[in-house]
Symmetry: C2
Subunit: 478 residues, 2 copies
């Protein structure tokens, strides 16, 4: 296959330097651009279009479960942030403070929201009076800001885009059910749309969200064997509600407290798509999330009839697929490389010979397999190719996850695995924070989650030898 | 018509106190809630759902003209803001400053974006190299912040949601064409979807955007006779591009400058919907923007078969309309009042007698007209009712605009009109800033725009008597 060497050589191979490969992909695929605002990135059209598709898919799924969208202020007065002790301790060190409005110095400084639990509680206190007002199932699409010292595109930036759901319930059971329900919405979305297989479980006390009773998480495994926390759902119990004074009159006409959840997924997920599916030629987007699903590339486009046929095929496909034509004055080889870097799932090559034979060639981005199709069957062929590719991408990632998940029965085996293999290590743990911290200190591996489906690999903690309480997924993480 | 007095009495009549009527509507229709963040409001589900529909409609129209969405940082370093002199003078007094990140004091303070021209220029400088990279047709959906001393929901708040388009072109002509094109996109959207008739024209030098060469505007007339600037489109020429050093190599291989536009529409437009269409019972939403287009209200819902039929009709309608059922345990009268306050364009009443007669009653929100329809024709009837209502709402607003637009031939007539009538005054103007400022000083009326379709009402300026240059729409404005 003819290919423009210059373009492709710009991407460092994964094998050589995974971190540099990642940076090359996000920049050369034109997903982001660096900005002059410390720690913040610019989402360029190709990057933002992926986020728009994430939003569209998630928002639809949210609304099917009764979610309503709202918008709350981006600034939090300091006194409001401070009402919940654990929460302020968790976030105060990493917020940006506004101290002046115009020429005037503020009497009370305000921070840019790092997350909006405090604002939601303060608002809900005003709108919940009776049991008839519950539940409230709110979500907000917005940007948040956390002052980060070192940043990487999508994975860790000071400002990032996300959605934050906040729900308020009459009973603890309902809050717990909602916490689990939304984790499952995330998991289904990641598996079905992003072709990313996951480990689902509960965070340890140490790793849970500041102020939550329980945090559930979905953890994905990147090509380099590191874990990426891809979405979290928190059950707050009634802690926040009590701190913020949310009360309502129940059916028995008594004052009651409410139970709260929150759940969030951010542009970080785009980092997961890149690191689960990308290859040495660039990005590979799963068909169901790709802003462009197929790029038609004319061959010998100056020859009479080629462009006419190409646009005819484009018009034939555009009702069912996100399709574009690259009719720029560059060479086909350049266009192939460009389509590959961008991760467009398929390209369709149409040249004079194809037109004579009434056919086109569909090329899969992931396997580079070429599928010749009669032009009058191109819609069904393309549909099948994209569906097969989506499934294959999931299967490959699932296979990778399984092959890179190991069981450690004792501390020697744990260290051996950590030093010679990559990926998750499943092991038994005593449940004590000191032990968890010691493991991190000694190895750099953290507890990713206690999986919902607990398996037993022994009776004692893999590190300290005390009685084991939980099976845990350990891993090095982004 | 039975109606729950308590609910309806909460809304002050327009006649009595228009400002209080407005506040009552936005609060009682549950569009917003006040927040404890100075100058910021909370968009509740019913308010945010209107904004979501505005976004959906505009975003589709933008993309049809080749717009690509991006996302740039919310913070602007002070040195970056200061590069364009007029722009910084216009905005510096009203921005919020971030001075601390976490515990650390910043070496350079940053402001929360009041608008993003500076960030776009700084970014585009990095991505435009050759004529092949132009044009760039970018848009961003985000929130911005301008420190306001006095605020009113939707009309003027410190933080607000908007879209800001920023485009970069090789020629001045192309930039001018884009500036006009986007103003027309706004105007078509307001007229077709929001049923708001407009005056389109150019702002005077005094009223144009800080740093622009020309600002075009759409101006709408509220029920109280005040004007509301509802969307603006700016042609920047090459001023910003030069200040920020944006250059590219043209086809002749020479370094050239670019020409820029920007255009924005914000949540302020929701204020226009309320003040153009609302009445003493609350909000009235045009069918094409309403998040719920019809509310089915069962009569005697405890009688056997009523709710079954109601949900059967709901299922029949839900493919084509945004439909909800109010099956709460409140009285029909309470539900009617609630549907009216919320501005839901129609309600469908179905009771035991209707079921016997195989019919339903559709009630229009604007005229309260009752339309009896056979159940097997309800889809077509509802479609016609909503389309007619949309058109009638536009026609009424258009009629109001025309009846409240007057021509002043001299200064006495101008004052007479201003004191005895409400609305726009069309008059001739000399084009001089001092004269414009004197008119504002003496009367409180400002130049709203110089309409694109200029008419001549005399040879001399209505105020100073010098030679007239332009016809101007004057008005008191929000």
């Amino acid at each position: 296959m003819a290919k423009d060497k210059k373009l492709v050589e710009q991407i460092t191979s994964m094998e050589e330097d995974f971190a540099q490969w990642y940076t090359d992909v996000v920049v050369k695929a034109e997903l982001i651009s660096y900005s002059n605002t410390r720690g913040c990135m610019i989402l360029r059209p190709r990057g933002y279009a992926i986020w728009e598709n994430v939003q569209k898919e998630l928002d639809r799924r949210f609304k099917e479960t009764g979610v309503e969208n709202v918008y709350l202020p981006m600034l939090i007065p300091e006194s409001l942030l401070q009402k919940e002790k654990d929460h302020v301790e968790g976030f105060a060190p990493e917020v940006a403070w506004v101290t002046h409005g115009g020429e005037e110095e503020l009497t009370e400084r305000m921070c840019i929201r790092p997350t909006s639990e405090t604002l939601f509680c303060d608002h809900v206190k005003d709108v919940v009076h009776s049991y008839r007002d519950l539940p409230l199932i709110y979500n907000q699409w917005c940007s948040v800001l956390r002052w980060e010292k070192s940043t990487r595109p999508f994975l860790r930036t000071s400002e990032f885009l996300w959605q934050e759901g906040h729900t308020f319930h009459a009973t603890a059971e309902e809050a717990e059910a909602r916490t689990e329900q939304m984790l499952n919405v995330y998991a289904d979305f990641c598996e079905d749309v992003l072709a990313i297989p996951l480990v689902k479980g509960k965070k340890t006390e140490k790793e849970k969200f500041a102020g939550a009773e329980a945090t559930y998480t979905i953890e994905a495994l990147m090509h380099d064997g590191k874990a990426l926390q891809s979405g979290t759902s928190h059950n707050f119990g009634s802690g926040f509600a009590e701190a913020y004074g949310i009360e309502y009159t129940n059916k028995e006409n008594k004052l009651s407290t409410v139970y709260e959840t929150s759940w969030g997924l951010s542009t970080r997920i785009i980092g997961a798509i890149i690191m689960v599916h990308g290859d040495d030629s660039g990005l590979v987007l799963p068909p169901r999330i790709a802003p462009v699903q197929t790029m038609i590339i004319p061959i010998q486009q100056k020859k009479a009839g080629v462009l006419d046929k190409v646009f005819e095929v484009r018009d034939q496909l555009k009702g069912s697929f996100a399709v574009k034509v690259d009719d720029s004055d560059k060479s086909p080889g350049w266009k192939f490389a460009e389509q590959e870097i961008q991760g467009i799932p398929t390209r369709i090559e149409i040249g004079p010979k194809d037109i004579v034979n009434n056919q086109a060639v569909i090329v899969r981005r992931d396997t580079r397999e070429k599928i010749v199709t009669p032009l009058d069957k191109i819609e069904e062929t393309l549909k099948t190719v994209l569906e097969t590719m989506q499934q294959d991408m999931y299967d490959r990632a699932k296979d990778f996850l399984e092959k890179n998940t190991h069981i450690a029965h004792d501390w020697d085996e744990f260290n051996e695995l950590l030093n010679t293999r990559q990926g998750f290590i499943r092991a038994m743990w005593c449940g004590e924070r000191e032990c968890e911290e010691a493991i991190k200190e000694e190895t750099g591996a953290t507890t990713r989650c206690m999986p919902f489906e607990q398996k037993k690999h022994g009776d004692t903690c893999v590190h300290c030898g005390k009685l084991a309480k939980y099976e845990v997924y350990f891993g090095k993480a982004y």
